[in-house]
Chain length 413, copies 2
């Protein structure tokens, strides 16, 4: 397998996937929820009870599968599997929707011979329609045969979780702990309704590290705050967002806790996996032509830096300017100024790429042609230094394009 | 003059304008700030010192003219004039920008023979470029000749404050107080960067009512909270938003205070003027094809109702669905659910026009063709009843369209 060095602490496994960590199989198939013949049902299965953790949407209208997954992970912090459908969010579907989500759990648990409470359920797609359970049941019955531990199994799963996504989102890293090679891998889907505090986003992290479910929950929460909660596509938070992590323990390291000498190394590799997926979601935002990264430096606190970064990345005017390759720093500072966070209006620097456009809140003449060339690239970095303190944050998003409007003007119909 | 009945309390003066209230003249001209030959400098002048009040953007990067206007109104609560340019926001222009805004004030004050502190200044347009003061000076010197008390003068002013607006926004009402006919009129510009708490919005209200500046400030603040602060085009709050009211007192009524028997009638007429302008701004949002009105009922508090209404009206997904004439109530309740306000997830009704789509949080089958026909109209009302309390609020916005993206991808270049 090709290995790309990502830092001192870990390496990226270029051909790795969610089935690279020991103990995991995955797969997907088309059961009939999507109108096309694309996969719409998939699962990840672990051969042993994996330590499990989850974070969920803050939208008050939580979809039925969220309740099921919370119940499963809440029971004993263990999962053997997660089953996921796309094409239908099973959200705002009332008691029947809940019954359907619980049936997905129990039927799949039975097919693979594990306790129902060891299965998590996730759904993504249209809100407010009942699942076609005849299709789902047939799919669940056929799914175990599709599971395998190869890249093909992982690809099948990754296809099954997509909706308006254009590309699969997957990453795998290797990190040495206690002389063992531990793998951490992830898969995600995103596209619309993407905004901090979880979005139309499903994410799944597998690892063969030995770690307890509480420690896993801690590292997942910390990584989420720095990655998935720092992306936005359109400011909308969906009813179905869910991120689930499963740790098989089969790598044979000593159990990871905050006291383990390699804890920081593990947490950093875990964060990296989440960051790659989060950025991939932002880059593949509905209609997006580029990834936009906003770095806020010199803030009074991390909370302020995060809030300002999210305000800038979420601004429709900034996003439209990025689409138009327009170095419109005025809109950037207008967003900084309405963030509700402490800002010294006389000390702000704004750089677009390495082009200084504002220094100490004064416009700087810059080469418009160079700015245009930079902004036409597929990644744009906006760097704002407030010169007030030492705190910083990074947020990711995308440009606002004709295609975003086209996709969302006609999604349901 | 044609009169349209708007309520028991006041009548709309169809052909009225900001120069209809006694004592006011207005005018506009092209001084050279806009590349086209459209008007870019205008003024409203009152023949007596008018009681004055203002509300301003909450963006921390306030444009230079905001400081000037606050200084003028703060001096003794009186104005003789407001001078406005478009094409350049005079924002983030540092000490020179401030000096330029003060020079606009003093030069125009001198030309019309009033104290400098009786002149307010407003600017709208591109951020971060210094005003071409040679053009502005020439314009100021020529402006007094353009002022007149007819509809033509008002039209000249209304043209001068537009940027990407497509239509002029103007309204006039008449209300009987103390046996006198009082007129209240307004003019506004909007378009992009429109979001609650003041936007790229300039608004001017003239009245010949006799009212003190403190009482006028109170009625202006109250009306703003229910109207201008309840509209959004794109969630961005500009550096230049300003709403200024001037009362000449020439109608001859007894001074209006909260103790006056007709206070409520006056406040209602004043609110109506602001509401007409706010809705006109929303309808003419950049790229908009329709006005969207969101009514939240049955909320626990007015604050909650307002916050939920603003979340729904600001959702890019809801806005895109409105452009696509898609009765996508799922996005509406997803926005309700992420508003951060108290919501009972089991008791929500959603109507689109008079079509029920969700009752007690359960989807209701509806006639898709009827919904499509309704949504293709130029005004869409979304009505959400939370069934939790007695409070309600209304917010206004527009759809998100290809043209919004087109306009904002190429604004500066």
């Amino acid at each position: 397998m090709g290995q790309v060095k990502a830092s001192e602490a870990f390496t990226v496994v270029a051909e790795g996937s969610i089935t690279t960590p020991k103990g995991f199989k995955a797969g997907g198939l088309h059961c009939g929820l999507k109108k096309t013949d694309r996969h719409d049902l998939g699962a990840i299965v672990c051969e042993v009870p994996a330590a499990a953790a989850g974070v969920y949407t803050l939208n008050q209208f939580q979809a039925a599968p969220i309740k099921v997954t919370q119940d499963s992970i809440g029971t004993e912090g263990k999962l053997r599997a997660v089953i996921v459908n796309s094409g239908n969010a099973n959200a705002v579907t009332g008691k029947q929707g809940e019954a359907d989500a619980f049936e997905m759990r129990s039927r799949f648990a039975e097919r693979i011979g594990v306790p129902a409470a060891h299965v998590a359920v996730a759904s993504t797609g249209v809100i407010g329609e009942l699942l076609k359970m005849d299709k789902v049941r047939g799919g669940i019955d056929a799914l175990p045969e599709k599971l395998d531990g190869s890249r093909e199994g992982a690809d099948g799963f990754c296809q099954a979780i997509l909706t308006t996504d254009l590309v699969q989102k997957s990453v795998c890293v290797a990190v040495e702990i206690d002389g063992r090679t531990i793998h951490i891998a992830g898969a995600a889907k995103g596209s619309g309704m993407i905004h901090p505090n979880m979005a139309t986003m499903l994410g799944f992290v597998t690892t063969d590290a030995a770690i307890g479910s509480e420690a896993l929950q801690g590292v997942l929460r910390q990584a989420t705050d720095m990655t998935f909660n720092m992306i936005t596509v359109d400011g909308d938070t969906s009813t179905n967002d869910m991120l689930v992590a499963m740790a098989s323990g089969l790598a044979g390291n000593k159990e990871l806790t905050a006291a383990h000498p390699d804890w920081a190394k593990f947490a950093d590799a875990f964060r990296y996996v989440c960051e790659v997926l989060a950025k991939a979601i932002a880059r593949d935002g509905e209609g997006a032509t580029k990834l936009v990264e906003v770095r806020i430096r010199g803030a009074e606190s991390v909370e302020a830096a995060r809030a300002i970064a999210k305000t800038v990345i979420g601004s429709s005017l900034v996003k439209s300017a990025m689409f138009g390759a327009d170095a419109n720093w005025g809109r950037i500072i207008a967003a900084v100024g309405r963030s509700g966070q402490p800002v010294n209006v006389d000390t702000v620097d704004v750089r677009i790429g390495d082009i200084a456009t504002l220094e100490q809140s004064r416009p700087v003449p810059f080469d418009e042609d160079a700015a245009l060339a930079y902004l036409k690239g597929d990644t744009v970095v906006i760097d704002v230094d407030l010169h007030m303190g030492e705190s910083e944050a990074v947020a990711w998003g995308c440009d606002l394009t004709y295609d975003y409007v086209r996709i969302n003007a006609a999604y349901r119909t």
